[in-house]
Structure formats: C-alpha cells, structure tokens
C-alpha cells in the first residue's frame, strides 16, 4: 500500500508491503543506516526513532503505521548549521560511547527527554534511557553526557 511519511522534514511517498517494519523501511528503502537494527524484539532500543517527536522502537512499528506521521532519525539531530547538537557534543565530551551501536538510539531518546524536561534528575535520566541498552555497559558516561547537554544546552543554543 502507499504511505506518505515525513522523514527528517522531507515528504516521502512509497509503496510498501503491510508487514514491512519501520526499521527496515528506514534502513533499506531510505538508506538511513544510522538507525540500527539490534535485538528485533523491542528490548534493546538500537532502532529508536522519533515518531511525531516521541521516541519509539522502530522494530515494533509497521511502516504503514507511520502513514501520515513524521519520523526523525539520528541523521537529522545535528544543528541546522551541521555542527553537533548539544547532546551529540555531550557524548563526545563525556566519552558517552564505546562501540557506538546504541548511540543513535540513546541520542534520540535523550533528545526527547531533554526537550520534555530540560533539567532531569539522575533518576529521571536513568528511567528515561531504561529502554535503550548499552552492551558496553557504558551507562555512567551516557548519563554524564545527557547531564552535560542539559548544562550546556543554553550556551549551545546561543551559538
């Protein structure tokens, strides 16, 4: 069936099989491979994208479900001038990634978290990313990266 999806601000019209999962639509049809495909069972969160601004696990969403909706992937998280967003910079500053597989999902979840709650407590951050698993177990620095972004968001926005 035909779907119309706004992906990273760009209107897309595609013919898809109803059983096509959103993660495969994004990776294979749109070649946006920053969205990772991990556990396939809605546990790990590597496939996180924003659906109408809310983080969801795209391995457990049908592409047809996104018809008429807006999808944002890691490719569209940087600042409009191409510099890293405050959260991306936070991951760099605080060594928030090791192998990097969970990072796009962490950054999308973290971006939505900071948008809804500009100054989250450590508990709120840890609950917020509890659906995104880091097999390197680098959670300490991921939490610090999100805290760094919360602290530096205003100066980053002023740049």
């Amino acid at each position: 069936m035909q779907i119309k999806v706004e992906v990273n601000g760009e209107a897309r019209v595609d013919e898809v099989e109803p059983r096509l999962l959103l993660v495969h639509y994004i990776r294979e049809r749109l070649a946006l491979t920053g969205t990772h495909w991990g556990c396939d069972t809605s546990n790990c969160g590597a496939c996180t994208v924003l659906l109408d601004g809310q983080p969801v696990k795209s391995c457990t969403v049908l592409a047809v479900r996104a018809d008429g909706h807006a999808v944002t992937t890691i490719e569209a998280i940087e600042n409009p001038d191409g510099t890293p967003s405050a959260l991306q910079e936070g991951f760099r500053q605080k060594h928030g990634l090791q192998c990097g597989f969970c990072t796009p999902g962490m950054i999308l979840t973290g971006t939505a978290l900071l948008r809804d709650n500009a100054h989250p407590s450590e508990h709120e951050i840890r609950e917020g990313i509890s659906g995104n698993l880091c097999r390197c177990t680098g959670y300490e620095n991921i939490v610090k990266a999100i805290q760094w972004a919360a602290e530096h968001a205003e100066e980053a926005a002023a740049k």
């Binding site: 099989e17 396939d40 069972t41 479900r65 509890s130």
Partner: protein, 295 residues
Amino acid sequence: MQVPASFEYVVATSVDDAIAKLSADDDARVIAGGHSLLPMMKLRLASPGTLIDLSHLESELRYIRADGPGIRIGALATHRDVIESPLLAQRARVLPDAEHVIADPLVRNLGTVGGSVAHADSAEDLAAALLTLDALVGIKGPNGAREVPLNEFYLGPYTTVLEPGELVTEIHLPRGASRGAYLKVERRAGDWAAAALGVSFDLDSAALKDVRIGLCAVGSTSLRAPKAEALLEGKTPDAALLKQAGETAAAEAEPIGDGRGSEAYKRNLIRILLPRAIQRALAAGSSNGSTIHAN
C-alpha cells in the same frame, strides 16, 4: 530477521467501522500500539490474515476523564498518558505507580491500556493494578455494548471473554482510591515481573478501608488476595499485622516455578512486597514507581 507473515492491512475509521470489519472477517485482529501483537506475529505465534489498525480512532478512544466518583480510560490511552494524568495521580495512584515499571518509556509511548488488557498476559502489571480499583472492561461488538468486571474478563493466559467481533473500548473504574502503590521485582530493566503486586485503599482516620490487593505473575491470571484484604480491612496497620497480611497473601498466590524463580521464591516475594506496598501507599508524597532488581 523476524518478519510477520503476510497480512491484509485496513484502517478503521470509527469504532463502528472497526466492529463491522472485525465481524466480517474471522481471521482479523485489531492492532493499536502493537507492542504485544507484533512481537507475537514476528515469532509467528500469531498470524492474522487481516490487521485492523485502530490508531486513527484517537478522537473516540484516547481519553482519561472523571465520571462522578469514577474514572473512564479510553482503550487507546497510552501507558504514558496514564503516567502523566493528574486525575489518576490523585484518585487512582496505583495506576501511574504501576506504569513506571511497565516495559520502558519508549514502549509506553505507543503501547495502550486497551491493548494490554485485551492481550491478557498473566504477567501484565496493569491488570493487577486495575484489579485493586474494581475495574470494569467496556466492550463493544455487533450486539451492542457491555461491561465485564476485570476479574471475570480473563479466562486464562491470553484468553478473554471477548466474542468474535468484539472490541475493548474502555476501562471503567467505578470508584477511585485515595491511596495506592505498586511494587515489582524484575530480573532486569523492562522485564516481566518475577512477582509484583498493587494495593489500593482509602483511610478512615488511620484505619484502612476498601483494601484491595492485586497480585501479578503468580497465577494464570492476575489475582486478588481476598483473605489478606479481609485481614487488613478496618484495621490500623502495624508491623505485626502487615507481616501476617504478607504471609496470608503469599499463601493465596498461585505461582509456578519458571525461569524467573521457583514457586517458593515467588511466594516469598509476595510476602515481602505486601507490607512494603502498604507502607509505600501510606507514605505521603511518594510519586514514582518502584522496581526492585532481583539480581
């Protein structure tokens, strides 16, 4: 790679349209958030010929509103909606408390109350929490609407009283409760419970009133603990009474041993969790769900 078997996909344009489509096709299933059905379809445990997408019915089915002394929750209210509802925080505290320990925030963004209830997983936390508020399940079908008490709605794991063509449209709480809490022991973040329980009650000065206990993952469906409830009813709890209530509830549970723990372990969890849940509900200002990691 896990991919569902092929199916026809149709969008319901109204509740009546969904019922008509569901009634016309024996092999059709409805899908809302999809976070229970899609994983089963990917494992080929479910292979419906047609999926009827309810996600366009939000104007009809996504709400949480007061109705006299009671509360009505539309089937398409998401888990996140329950967490963020000021009404439920005030009058049905056990629900947001439970929601904080259901799956994870991303799943809660899409998963729905109606879908969770209709899926009838015996380890579903929301059902145990709803049992403490005497919840009724609102159902619509080709023969009209009906309400069924939640404890009569479940026939067993993944099995409900829904007839062909019928749809869960609402959860109706006939009354609220001023106090509530939910506690869960899980092996890792976002897992199903090894055991969990919810409590709701009101206070008559210091005495517990209308005590309800909902047990999760210690039976083929969520269970009440009527003997423990009777023990607590009308009493001002002290340590000895809470200990006795915990032991009574543990005896009422019907757990089986599995990968999440032995029967004895799960009974012990219920014994420990009940006093803690009552204390948590009594403590003013408790606002966040609580998970205890088993390992």
